[in-house]
């Protein structure tokens, strides 16, 4: 633990050396064993049993973008957690949601948040949204070795681009391939069902309140058909996590706000189990 042993001495030379504004670069140089990607894994046969997070959805609207995730985490066919958080603010104007192996995902998010904050503090200005999206791609690419062993992490990144004055959504594959999505996107095991739902409900001119309902509907549809995705748990009052990002910054919907939307969606399903119907033509 190189850093600990110096806590009572002077700053080690590596700390004072001029260099990159990236925390990851600093860690690579100074304490590479702390990087989540740098762990050697023994060869394993078959899939590794670890907790998995599932469906994340994102959709843009006129004033920005929303990112939301269900709360279920599974291990095999067991529900490991009913109230897991898989959507996190990355900084003041962006958020990241993660599907895949929970342990690694949470650590990657922590490092990603730190990477953005560190850059901001050292440079005195924030990274561009494009720059943030690329940084995340590099981190996912670094995890490819573990992804090959079954510990894959697939994020969905959304943020408000202050230079272009609009919300943007980026999706990734396990190899770090980055795609900008138009309008809406989803990742995780329930994502195919969520995407079908978003496709039918999403419109570019929706308001913030409407778009929040759209993403909750999409998560409801994902939970309907995917056993690894949890629907709103009205009994335990566990609702999806929804982040709204506008030019004013990021805001997580409060428990009251989201419970209202989730209950309204649920009420609707009591009448129409398949949810709102889109016109045929």
């Amino acid at each position: 633990m190189a850093a600990n042993s110096h806590d009572h001495g002077r700053l080690p030379a590596a700390f004072l050396r001029p260099g990159s504004s990236s925390f990851m670069d600093f860690l690579t140089e100074h304490a590479p064993e702390r990087l989540p990607n740098n762990r050697g894994l023994p060869p394993v046969e078959g899939p590794l049993e670890a907790v998995h997070g599932t469906t994340i959805v994102a959709a843009s609207f006129a004033g920005g973008v929303v990112l939301a995730g269900d709360r279920r985490a599974t291990m095999g066919n067991v529900i490991a957690t009913k109230d897991m958080e898989k959507v996190f603010p990355a900084d003041e104007f962006s958020a990241v949601g993660i599907a895949g192996t929970a342990g690694i995902a949470v650590e990657l998010v922590k490092l990603f948040q730190l990477e953005l904050e560190h850059f901001e503090k050292v440079e005195g200005e924030v990274l561009s949204l494009e720059g943030k999206a690329n940084r995340l791609a590099a981190m996912i690419r670094g995890n490819l070795g573990m992804a090959m062993q079954g510990l894959a992490v697939v994020p969905l990144f959304a943020g408000y681009d202050l230079d272009r004055d609009r919300g943007r959504i980026f999706s990734y594959d396990v190899a770090g391939g980055r795609t900008e999505e138009q309008g809406f996107a989803s990742v995780g095991s329930g994502s195919v069902f969520a995407r079908g739902s978003l496709k039918k409900l999403h419109r570019a001119d929706l308001t913030e309140e409407q778009i929040v309902t759209v993403v909750v509907q999409a998560l409801y549809d994902a939970a309907d058909d995917d056993s690894a995705t949890g629907g709103p748990d009205l009994v335990r009052r566990i609702y999806p996590i929804v982040m709204v990002i506008t030019e004013d910054g990021i805001r997580r919907l409060t428990q009251e706000e989201i419970s209202e939307v989730a209950r309204a969606v649920h009420e609707g399903r009591l009448q129409l189990p398949n949810g709102p119907q889109a016109p045929i033509v």
């Binding site: 806590d7 002077r10 700053l11 100074h30 050292v122």
Partner: protein, 255 residues
């Protein structure tokens, strides 16, 4: 081969201290004041890009006078230390005291090592607490000593005079506008006893605001808000979030 002259350790240290002090005295002063909702940093700094006051971590900020390249490397070192420590343990395990100790060790080692020239810097590390009583301000002169300060502190060229001016007038329960006006008045005092005019674009102002809802309490006070706070009449009562309330108060007073 010539024999080196004998220089007593006292003399060597005194020379090094004088060298560092002269370097620091060339820089403009900087003041830090506690106010009701946090800690305010005011520096005379005509540069928009090269900062004297910066964020280190959630509740911790750094301010420095002296040689820019030297305190900049200490600032970045401190940020790296704080981020690594928070990443290794938890965000609440990063403290101003730990950081100040580290800086003290670093400056002290450099000061006593004869191969390196002493750093011509004076640092301040401050952490805002949940209440004014829990605020911490540490002053670190060039030689690595560490001084626990309360209320108001001045560092840099004219710091003795500014410091005594501040200590006579400062109260812990001042609002941000009052504290800021006092800080600017103190910086405007010449060493000869006269006063200079300090315009807003010569000032760098930042706060650690304990009322800020975000986890990160550091915030720069920029143009419009700074003008509003400085223009406010004495005894005004701007409270709470400085950005909104202060702007409103100033707009009201213009009518």
């Amino acid at each position: 081969m010539s024999t080196p002259f004998y220089v007593s350790p006292q003399q060597a240290m005194a020379d090094r201290a004088e060298y560092a002090r002269k370097g620091i005295a060339r820089g403009r002063s900087l003041v830090v004041l506690q106010y009701a909702d946090g800690i305010v940093f005011v520096a005379e700094n005509p540069s928009r890009a090269l900062h004297k006051v910066s964020e280190i971590y959630d509740r911790i900020a750094f301010a420095a006078t002296g040689k820019y390249n030297e305190y900049e490397s200490l600032r970045i070192g401190g940020t790296r230390y704080a981020d690594l420590r928070g990443y290794t343990y938890d965000r609440q395990d990063v403290t101003a005291r730990g950081l100040a100790n580290l800086y003290a060790q670093t400056l002290g080692t450099i000061f006593s090592a004869t191969v390196e020239k002493p750093y011509e810097v004076e640092l301040l590390v401050a952490e805002v607490g949940a209440t004014p009583a829990e605020d911490e301000i540490y002053r670190l002169p060039h030689d690595g000593s560490i001084i626990d300060e309360h209320g108001s502190v001045a560092v840099g060229g004219n710091s003795d005079q500014i410091g005594s001016y501040l200590s006579q007038r400062h109260r812990d329960d001042m609002d941000l506008g009052e504290a800021l006006r006092l800080a600017v008045a103190s910086l405007a005092r010449e060493s000869g006893g006269g006063e200079r005019e300090l315009s807003n674009d010569q000032l760098e102002v930042a706060v650690l605001d304990r009322k800020r809802p975000q986890q990160r309490k550091f915030k720069r006070v920029l143009n419009r808000q700074l003008t509003a706070l400085l223009a406010e009449p004495g005894g005004g009562s701007a409270e709470g979030e400085p950005s909104e309330s202060a702007d409103e108060a100033a707009e009201g007073s213009e009518e």
